[in-house]
Symmetry: C2
Subunit: 473 residues, 2 copies
Amino acid sequence: MADRWAIAGVDLHLRPLGSRVRAGLEDALRDAVRDGRLATGTRLPSSRALAADLGLARNTVAEAYSQLVAEGWLVARQGSGTRVAGRPRAEASARPAGRSPDAGAGAAIAEPRHNLRPGSPDLGSFPRAAWVSATRRALAAAPPDAFGYSFSQGRPELRGALAEYLARARGVVADPERIVVCGGFAQALSLTCEALAARGARTLVTERHGLDTHRRIAARQGLATRPLEIDEHGARTDQLVEVGGDAVLLTAAHQFPFGVALAPSRRGAAIDWASDGDRIVVEDDYDGEFRYDRQPVGAMQALAPDRVVYAGTASKSLAPGLRIAWLVLPDDLHPHLLETQELLRSGPDAVAQLALADLIRSGAYDRHVRRARLAYRRRRDRLLATITREAPAVRVHGIAAGLHALLELPPGSSEAEVIELAASRGLAVAGLESFTDGPPIGWPALVIGYATPPEHGYTAALARLAAVLAQVS
Amino acid sequence: MADRWAIAGVDLHLRPLGSRVRAGLEDALRDAVRDGRLATGTRLPSSRALAADLGLARNTVAEAYSQLVAEGWLVARQGSGTRVAGRPRAEASARPAGRSPDAGAGAAIAEPRHNLRPGSPDLGSFPRAAWVSATRRALAAAPPDAFGYSFSQGRPELRGALAEYLARARGVVADPERIVVCGGFAQALSLTCEALAARGARTLVTERHGLDTHRRIAARQGLATRPLEIDEHGARTDQLVEVGGDAVLLTAAHQFPFGVALAPSRRGAAIDWASDGDRIVVEDDYDGEFRYDRQPVGAMQALAPDRVVYAGTASKSLAPGLRIAWLVLPDDLHPHLLETQELLRSGPDAVAQLALADLIRSGAYDRHVRRARLAYRRRRDRLLATITREAPAVRVHGIAAGLHALLELPPGSSEAEVIELAASRGLAVAGLESFTDGPPIGWPALVIGYATPPEHGYTAALARLAAVLAQVS
């Protein structure tokens, strides 16, 4: 891809952002709108045409347009394509030209924003009062050394609370001494990949459908990745022997984005593969707390604590902004990982760790998770009812758990067209292809994050989704 | 160095901890004491003998002994060497055998601990009440997206507050858009080294006296390091052209550990060197807030904002446990650095960022720094008066600023012997040699962190130091 290109006759500079292609495209477009190179009302090329020009997947362009429509930079109207929106005045004057608009474009957007992209809990439900109380209690009780450099592994108060919680809620075999607290899952995965590489690993197998960032994090630590297919029983761990590799990353409780739970036989196959060849399973238990229809699916870590790295996070249960995740490690990875953690001291802030420990110990964490589970279950039920009623040709998958569902579009539909149609209604959605390693799998689908909107915005978001899907069906 | 060795007839296993030799030695000794392999009263070999056996520097062994004496694992008595202390009962029963004792050995130590090692502010003076108030106000005002994944660069509220503060207090030319908030200085340096490497840098010049961790962080990002000598005008930046390299890391305001400020001509030489060859200066302004005797020494970043990466931190002004540092970046490093930060999402917790922004905006941060500056200045004055009175043969350097002083011991003294003597009085101190890249420079000195003890413990710590030094002089 060229790093300088023209759109609607305007020269745009794409910053060297590696594989962050969609983000780079969005940035370049925002910059051009902000500094006036793309004037209000300018009609942009179709996503198909621009994708062909730039050598990108059409979904990439469609999703960038959709994001910018949701942010109010562009407007999309059926029949008249995508155009540059009227310039949000407050936004434009508050910030110097040519700079990234991350400082709260939301405050000045021209269009109502509806967001059903996956990956976020309802940020409006973060338990602010409980968090302040927990912080106050934690600070009153903290020994002075809590504010010091020590405890790269994480505060002992939090590791103790997590060990009990994980055993109780997720069936994890968790000795506090084998827990390392990290600054979010991405960092936890990065540390794990570094420790795997230090142990001699060269290749990490990843699910063929998942987050590209995980593959990029592995690559940054020198690990090659190979894809593992997925079917209705979860990742094809029965194929691990053929696929090869030194470790595998699995979303066992709730595959992202397909939403299936890894079947018992598949769990066994993964563990056998790991045990037979001194290999490691990394279990990404990102939303294990949220299961609606039957008993929770326990973590697979308990099957072989010496072969499985268990990774959990507060990003879905509380909020991503807390930057807290945790690893439960096999003995032989623990020293490698701790060495990096001690060098970079990259664990999260001690006050937040103590507050979370207090929240867990006091029962407030469980209460919050129960409340959230009820709320998300209700949203899921409404999503299902709405689709069944308004767009019966759309099949809904992966709804037993978690914060997202997979909506299989009727055969022959185009993901990119549906994304653009949604954008024209002010609704941001994601397509399955964005989460696919390698060529598309031949059936179009949307990945709908029903936890993302604030509670008061869910009805409107759902109505727009229904209207879009009714038109497709 | 062997990774398995015997001490006092007991076989010890040293975990593969790379260059963390002293920490590894300490861990191995703690493990052996904890699980009873080294029984109470066992006499350890002298630091000289053990250092020779293991192929280590004598200071490394002496400092490990000293640390373990301070923690209560060992006792050192003049004339009878270093012995294994009575096993702290609470500590031993609370934790499974053979595990790392990081979970608060301080609570159960057998000996009073006095610590004058450098690197920490007085953790007991962390403004807990002000922090809780700031957290409460910040959470009440935060937009929901504060709890989300966005803002890898750092919360705009904090970047705005920092830009004003840094301009006012440190003379930094700081556009909020060029600030990146990081999870502590080690992480900030790691991100900077990664961005330098991505920009084509191969070699980072570091001050010959400083923290070894900085060199290790550079090495982890593939940068070789070369040492730069230091004299009474600071780092010999006039030698940079001969030394070579693509970037230089400088503690300009207050050299660690010598304590000198980089002279204006040396600042100019560094900037010229950077400008002439498209090179970068990384300015580690770790304790710039603390200057006692004259006007603050401003940051050198203002001389050439396009050549200097400015790094500041809340670790000394508030507490290391907050894990908050900040970078002010030249344009051409900013995208590289942000790309990693967006991938790893390794910035600090949003609540802490908002609380710090509130603390700065409300004036509470300035008040805290002023109070701390007064308290540390008083400690420094007492240190100086005590040494002058009790140990006039010891020369004190680097006292105009910061949280540490360099105590030059009389010619012919042995750093290791003084460290051991201090340990025998229950006092942990560090020698200059620990902060020296390459061979010792030929004059023995201690690096005394006078901010480290709690306020109520400073008198006793100082008395022990005076007694030790009086004996040496």
